[in-house]
Each structure stands twice: as structure tokens, then as C-alpha cells.
Amino acid sequence: MNGETANMLLAIIPEIGMLVLAGTLMVLDLVWHAPYRRLGWITAGGVVVIIALSAAFARPGLAPQLIWGGMLRLDDTGFVFRLIFLAGAGLTALFAEGNENLDRHGEFYALMLVSVFGMSLMASAADLVMLYLAIETTSIPLYIMAGFYIKDQKSVEAGIKYLLFGGMTSAIMLYGFTLLYGFGGTTQIYMLAEQLQAGKVPLFALAATLLLILAGFGFKVSAVPFHFWAPDVYEGAPTPVAGFLSTTSKAAGFAVLLRVMVAVYPTQAQLWMTVVGVLAVVSMFLGNLLALAQKNIKRMLAYSSIAQAGYILIGVAANSTLGTTGAIYYLMAYLATNLAAFGIVTVVGKSVGSDEIQAYSGLSRRSPGLALGLLVALLSLGGIPPFAGFFGKLVVFGAAVQSGLVWLALMGLINSMIALYYYLVVLKVVYLLRSDVETKPLPVSITWKVALIVCVAGVIVLGTIFYPWYTAASAAAAALF
């Protein structure tokens, strides 16, 4: 084995680690039959080890580097996104542990890790073939996870719905990839732009590939009009899975969106900035306006998640280092925030047996800690300091102003106002309304407490101490331009 191969192997050590961990969990599930196996903790612990491994061995150099025959690109973007995915997976594993229907089946954790493996490759893929394979590797376990409660019709429906939508948009996106290959004669993402320009490909053909590809990416990030799956899947899927879908999987979608737009369409920037900007506006408005009417908190969070995708798309549309930095920072903030929100929904849902917003009446009397956690999460989603969402919004809106898209920033601001309303309504239910069971304490297991505290602390740290996260996001952004 020569030095170069060794280096390339080191670069994918984290991915190897994910597969090893997934395999280990499958084996453990088969041979270990104790009532409390703590598989969630094992997964979370393994994730921490993988984070350490990737920090120790898979650090990208100063200049981005193509490895494995141009299949992957070792750069800060892939590195930072991988950390985001791992954080999401570790926390989701903890939230899943308290949930007997998930925890009893060890393959749940293995599936999740395979999905994260795919995401990790998505974020560093530098070749269309690799990218497509990575997206499918990510998606297929997610379909199964969404339908994991096989005895619950809603969950199965969610799984099938997600599969059908995913399969369709994936096919459309693949068609876009083939057209790109046809026009450019290469599948290398970082050579396509040059080839397309040299080949004098007409604008409408490029626009067509752009729209086809956006269908696939738009599905992943749940942007309008590719969002139809989101509310039903979030509502039906196991709550920790919904949290995972809305944060980690969305982040993976943004990773490829950012990379492909910037790398493949640099000369059509005006075009895709406008298209992405329009997607952002419709996502924000539709998500927020429909969220206003929701009675079920998971559906509300689903629509809110569509709107949040809209805010992040503003950062993408800015097509600048600042905008991309903002989008990545936003994704980090959103990860901590939404995992906290879904975590609390998991906890409350298990005790109360309902995900209706009305079921949160009296929560502040029943469990002041959970109420405060929900307060932090919802206000962060609403963009109120000192929580993470505030800074994320500020940077993406700022980037829009910087890129001359003042109208887009204005749309974002208008939507922030609409959104604050429905977040506050939930808080009103939590703090003001009474319920018959409000004196009965609400049990929260240690595992859930740890996971919730990590999420809430993350929201506050990301919202007050910007420097380390901003620096990471900005390095990840710089590697794309």
C-alpha cells in the first residue's frame, strides 16, 4: 500500500467507522437479549468516537483535494457537514432509546448509521455517479425508518409516502444528471462547468438540467413545491425519526445543493439565484401560513420546517461566502433547535399519548423544565436572541442584503413575523392553559434528559458564542467557492 492510498483510506476513516458501528449494532442486536441494552448510548458513544477519528485523521488540508479517482473531495465542507450529521445521529439515538418500539429493534440504529454514512458521502461527493449513489444510500434507510412502526398504519403510510415521493424526485434528478453528462461529457462535478462552457450548451438546456436537479434536492430539503410528503411523514413517522429527517437529512440536502449550484452553474448564477430565491419565498410563505392552522404539533413543526428551509435557501440564493456561511450556521442552529423540539414532543407524546397542541396545556406547571426547553426551542425557531436561530437568520438576511437581494431579506423578515405568532401560541398553551393532569409529574428518563440538555445547551451556545461555529461554517463555505 503506497502513501497515497493510505492517505485516501485515512480520509474515509469516519465513513468506515460508521459502517463498522452499524455492523456492530446489528450483531449486538442478534446476540444480546438483556431487557435494557442501552443500544442508544452505544450508538451515541460510537458517534463520539467517529467524531474524534474524523478530527484526528480525516482533517482536510488547506487546499481541497480530489480523492478516490475524483469520486470524493476532501475539503472543509464535507468535514463540517459530517460533524453536523454525526451530531444529529448521536442525539437521535439517545431520543430513540427511550422509545421501546424503536429500541427493541437494534436495526433501527444500524439503519440510521447507514443513512448517515450516505449523507457523509453526499457532502463530499465530487462526481455525479457518487452523488447519486450517496443520495440513495441515504434515502433508502430513511424510508424504512419512517415506516418503522409496522403495526401503526400512520407510520407505514408515512414510510410508503416518503418512498414514493423520494423515488419519483430521485428519478427526475437522475434524468437531470444524465442530461448534464450528455452536455458536458463528464460526471466530474468540478469539471462540468468548464466543459459546459466549452461546449456552448444553450441556456435553456442548462436551465432544464437545473430544474430537474432542483426537484431532487428540493425534496431532500423539503422546499415548496417538493414538500408534500413532509407533513404526513412527520406526523406518521416515529417522532425521533421525524426529528432526524427534519434536521440531519435536510442538512445533507443543503450540502449537495450548495456544492452543485456553486460548482456546476457558476456562469448561470443569475438564473439559479433567482430560482432558488423564488423557492425560498414560496417555501417560507406556504410553510408559515399553513403552520398557522395546525392543531397537531408534529404537523406544525413539519410546516415550520418547510418555512425554515426557505430561510436557509435565502442564504443559498445569496451565492456568496457570507450567504453560504449563514446557511451552514443556520443548519447547525436548526439541528440543535429542532432536535430539542422533536425531543420534547417525543417525551410529552410518550406520557400524554397525544401530539395535539392542546395536550401541552399546563405543561409549565407539570414539568417546568420541559416547558423551558420548549420555550428555548420555539423561540430559537422564531429567531429570538439569545438563541441560535437569531444569529442564523441575521446572517442569511444580511447576506441577501449584501448580494443586492433586499427584496428577499424583506420577505424573510415578513415571514419571521408570521412565524413568531404560531410559536407563541404554543407557548401560550404551555404557560397559560390549565389541564386536569397538571399536578401529575411527567417522567423524563435520564437518557432523554441528557439529550435534551445537550440540545438546549447547544441552542444557547450557538446563539451566544459565535466564534468557533462561525469559523467552521465559514471555512466550509470558503471551500465551495
Binding site: 429570538i384 436572541p385 441575521l394 438576511f397 442584503v401 423578515l413 413568531l420 407563541l424 466564534y467
Partner: protein, 489 residues
């Protein structure tokens, strides 16, 4: 390195609030004693800053600066000038009195006192900010304590409506201001949020004229500017007493202060262009607010609209852009803050005992609660601008300044003061004098904590009225700096 007194002032309430959240819910004694301890310490330190501020040298003092996010030109930059020092003291006073007044809160006191202290951190943070990002950060920090405190502990009939109206109104204002803030940031060559740097940025006149209204009106919504004032009476009435005191007493000043600090001081050319409109709206605030107050039958709404009216005077003072007007505004922010805190405290005391705020049903309460009655009388005299009280020291320069711009403005605004005298005297007679209704024969006098709060607020208003030199030179030193910026445009 000197002792970071401003940071300590700001973070004491925050840390105490967090500590309170960790306490067992049943220990109301621990909770409120911690809150009172923190509020006393904040008050003491803000008093030390007030005394320690060197009026002769002026400028920004007690400055602290730590890079926060250098990549974006954000720093943690604290400092106070002659305009903000009294406001910091005001914040300390009102938080302290707010804790005293809320001594008997029974429903979830832990959350109540913690959120109250968080609100204190927010307002004090704005007054001390010398970085635009930081200012906005603290400004927005107030959103959730305000909303939750009104909706949870507010007046049951209107709290849901009042809290949501207030929060969304103010959030819209701050989002509009944010757009202006971003424009200022990207318009500055230095790409910094530092206010001292931005003061020197010298934005092109067209830029200033374009963005001034967004920033000014965005922030001034919280200052209660007409026609965006209607959140104020509804919100104040719906809020629990301590929050009404903080909202009308301090938060409205936060709005006016931010409008001054960001819009007028950074965009002086825009201020000159838009001053006539602000002046006109300020006059409407004064007269219209007073007229509406005159016809209210709800005790608390009278005070709510009187705040709108008095904040109009602050806006008039700003819009004169001259020495007298700005000086008056600076003092008025302090004087009105103390006065309205006292008014709302008295209203709260009356309501807690009589269980109604309907003025026709009240009467003769002076004999039952003389402390509250005296407090209301002093507040009323301040409100009417009577010489010997702080209101006179504040309002007289504002009218002088307004006269220089246009005598008519001064004359119309002064009619507002006459109407104020009318509604204050009417309310005073109907609530505190006349015949005591039979059902109130057994009500108790106010508590010791209430008396301390009343006494403190009354002493301040009379003290400043008798010795204007306690505050005037200080505000003057801050105004001089504003004038130098305005002159340079």
C-alpha cells in the same frame, strides 16, 4: 483592566434569574429574596455608575470591549454616556421597585421573578451597548419575557389579546429596524457594527434619507410613536403590575433611546430631513394621547394613554434636533420612567385591593391607602409639569426647543399638558377622594414593600425637581455629543 461594572450590572439579573430557575418551585422565600438581592445590587451598582460618571470629561465612559465575532465586525462593546447613564439608573430603580411590588405573586413565582430579571438584563443591555449588533441582541432579548409574563400573569380578560398584540407590533417594528441596521452595516466601508466607528462613517446623504425612516420608526414603535402606539395601552393594561411598570417605565425608553442612538446619531442627515414628520407625529402623540386618556373609565387605561402622551414629548424633543429639545428629552425619559412606574404601581395596588379598575366604582381610597394616594398626587404633579418636580425640569426645555423650531408646535403641545392636568385631577378626585363605597370599608393599607417602592420613586421625582443639577449637566454632556454629530451633517 478596570472593574467591568456595566457587564456586572447587566449580568447580575441574568445570573440571578437562572439561579432562580434552578431553585425548588415551592421555596417562594428563597426565590423572591434572591430576586430582591439581585435587584438591589443592580440598583446599587447603577447608582455607583451614576455618581462615578465624570460629567466634566463627558463622552463614553466605563467602556469595555471584547471581540465577539471579528469576522463580521461584531464586538462586545459596553459604555455609557450622559444620556444613557440616567437610563441605566432608571432600569435599576424600576426593576428594584418591580420586584418589591410583586412580592405577593403566588402563581409560579419562580418563573415570574426569573423572567422579570431577564427583562431587566435586556433593557440594561440596550442602554449600555456601543455595538449595533449587541444593541439589537439585547433589544430582542425582551421578546419572550414580555410575552410570557403578560400572557401568564396578566389581566385575565385581555391578556391573550394584549400580549400577542404587543409582541407582534414590537416584533414588526424591530424587524423593520433590522433591515435598516443591515443596510447601515453593509453601507459602511468598515463593515463593522461598532457604533463609535459607525458614527464616523459619513454615509452619503441619499443613503441616510432612505434608511432613516426604517430605523427610526422601527425602533420608535417601542417608543409608542403615533400611529403605531396602540400596542402600548392594550399591552400595559393586560400586563401584571411589575411588567406594566417596566414596559411603560423602561421599555418605551429603550425604543426611544435606540431610535436616538441608531437612527439620529448614525444618520444625522436623515434626521434633518425627517424631523418635521417626527415633530408632527410627536405633537399628535401628546394631544391625542391626552385626549383619549381623558375619556377612559378604566384607571389603568388612563395611565396607559398618558404614557403615549408623555412619550410624545420625548419625540418632540428629539425632532427639534436642538440643544434644549434634546436635553429635555433626555431628562423626560428618566422622569417619565420613574413617574409612570409609580402610576402603574399605584394602579396595581388599588386593583389588588378593590378588585376593579372601573373609575366610577372607586372613590375615597385616600383614607384607606394614604401612601398610594400621596404617590399618585406626586406622580400627577410630575405629569402636569409642575415646578418643583422632575416633570418640569424635563418638559420646560422641550417646549423651549420646540418654540425655536415653531412656536405653534410648542403651543399645541402645551395644550396637551393642560389636558393632562384635567385627566389627572379628575382621576385623583374620583379614585382617592369623594365618598368611599361601602364595600371598600375593610380594605387594607398597602404593604411595607409597596411603601418602600413608593417612597423611593417619590423621593427621586422631588429630588430632581428641587435640584435639577443632579441630572441636567449629565444629560447635557451626552447631548453635546449628539449635537456635534448633527452639526456635522
Amino acid at each position: 483592566m478596570q472593574f467591568p461594572i456595566l457587564s456586572v450590572i447587566i449580568f447580575i439579573p441574568l445570573v440571578a434569574g437562572l439561579a432562580i430557575l434552578l431553585m425548588p418551585a415551592g421555596r417562594r422565600d428563597w426565590i423572591r429574596e434572591t430576586a430582591l438581592g439581585a435587584a438591589s445590587l443592580t440598583l446599587l451598582l447603577s447608582f455607583i455608575v451614576y455618581v462615578g460618571y465624570d460629567v466634566q470629561s463627558g463622552g463614553y465612559q466605563f467602556t469595555e470591549m471584547v471581540p465577539w465575532l471579528p469576522a463580521l465586525g461584531i464586538s462586545y462593546h459596553m459604555g455609557v454616556d450622559g444620556i444613557s447613564v440616567p437610563l441605566v439608573l432608571l432600569g435599576g430603580i424600576v426593576v428594584f421597585c418591580g420586584v418589591l411590588i410583586s412580592w405577593r405573586v403566588e402563581d409560579r413565582p419562580r418563573e415570574f421573578f426569573a423572567f422579570l430579571l431577564f427583562l431587566g438584563t435586556s433593557v440594561l443591555g440596550v442602554f449600555c451597548s456601543l455595538d449595533l449588533f449587541q444593541l439589537f441582541f439585547f433589544f430582542e432579548l425582551a421578546v419572550f419575557p414580555k410575552y410570557l409574563m403578560i400572557v401568564t400573569w396578566g389581566y385575565p380578560k385581555t391578556r391573550e389579546y394584549g400580549s400577542m398584540k404587543l409582541t407582534l407590533y414590537l416584533f414588526v417594528g424591530s424587524m423593520v429596524a433590522l433591515l435598516g441596521v443591515l443596510a447601515i452595516y453593509f453601507g459602511s466601508a468598515a463593515r463593522t457594527f461598532d457604533l463609535l466607528e459607525l458614527e464616523k462613517a459619513g454615509f452619503p446623504l441619499a443613503f441616510q434619507r432612505m434608511w432613516f425612516p426604517l430605523v427610526f420608526f422601527g425602533f420608535a414603535v417601542l417608543g409608542g410613536i403615533f400611529p403605531f402606539h396602540s400596542w402600548a395601552p392594550d399591552g400595559h393594561v393586560a400586563a401584571p403590575t411589575a411588567i406594566s411598570m417596566l414596559l411603560a417605565g423602561v421599555e418605551m425608553k429603550v425604543g426611544a433611546f435606540a431610535a436616538l442612538r441608531v437612527a439620529i446619531m448614525l444618520l444625522p442627515g436623515g434626521a434633518h430631513a425627517w424631523a418635521p414628520l417626527v415633530l408632527a407625529l410627536g405633537v399628535v402623540n401628546v394631544v391625542y394621547g391626552a385626549l383619549i386618556a381623558l375619556v377612559q373609565t378604566d384607571f389603568k387605561y388612563v395611565i396607559g394613554f398618558s404614557s403615549v402622551s408623555h412619550m410624545g414629548l420625548v419625540l418632540i424633543g428629539f425632532a427639534t434636533l436642538n440643544k434644549e429639545g434634546l436635553l429635555g428629552s433626555g431628562i423626560q425619559m428618566f422622569s417619565h420612567g420613574v413617574m409612570t412606574a409609580l402610576f402603574f404601581a399605584v394602579v396595581g395596588m388599588v386593583y389588588d385591593r378593590a378588585h376593579t379598575r372601573d373609575i366610577p366604582k372607586l372613590g375615597g381610597l385616600f383614607s384607606k391607602m394614604p401612601w398610594a394616594g400621596v404617590g399618585f398626587i406626586v406622580g400627577g404633579l410630575v405629569s402636569m409639569g409642575m415646578p418643583g418636580f422632575s416633570g418640569f425640569i424635563a418638559e420646560f426645555p422641550i417646549f423651549m426647543g420646540a418654540w425655536q423650531v415653531s412656536p405653534w408646535v410648542a403651543i399645541i403641545a402645551i395644550t396637551g399638558v393642560l389636558i393632562t392636568a384635567a385627566y389627572i385631577l379628575l382621576v385623583l378626585r374620583r379614585v382617592f377622594f369623594g365618598e368611599l363605597p361601602a364595600e371598600y370599608l375593610r380594605i387594607e393599607d398597602v404593604s411595607v414593600q409597596d411603601k418602600v417602592a413608593i417612597a423611593l420613586l417619590v423621593v427621586i421625582m422631588i429630588g430632581i425637581g428641587l435640584f435639577p443639577s443632579l441630572i441636567s449637566p449629565m444629560v447635557q454632556s451626552g447631548v453635546n455629543h449628539v449635537l456635534s454629530l448633527l452639526g456635522g451633517a
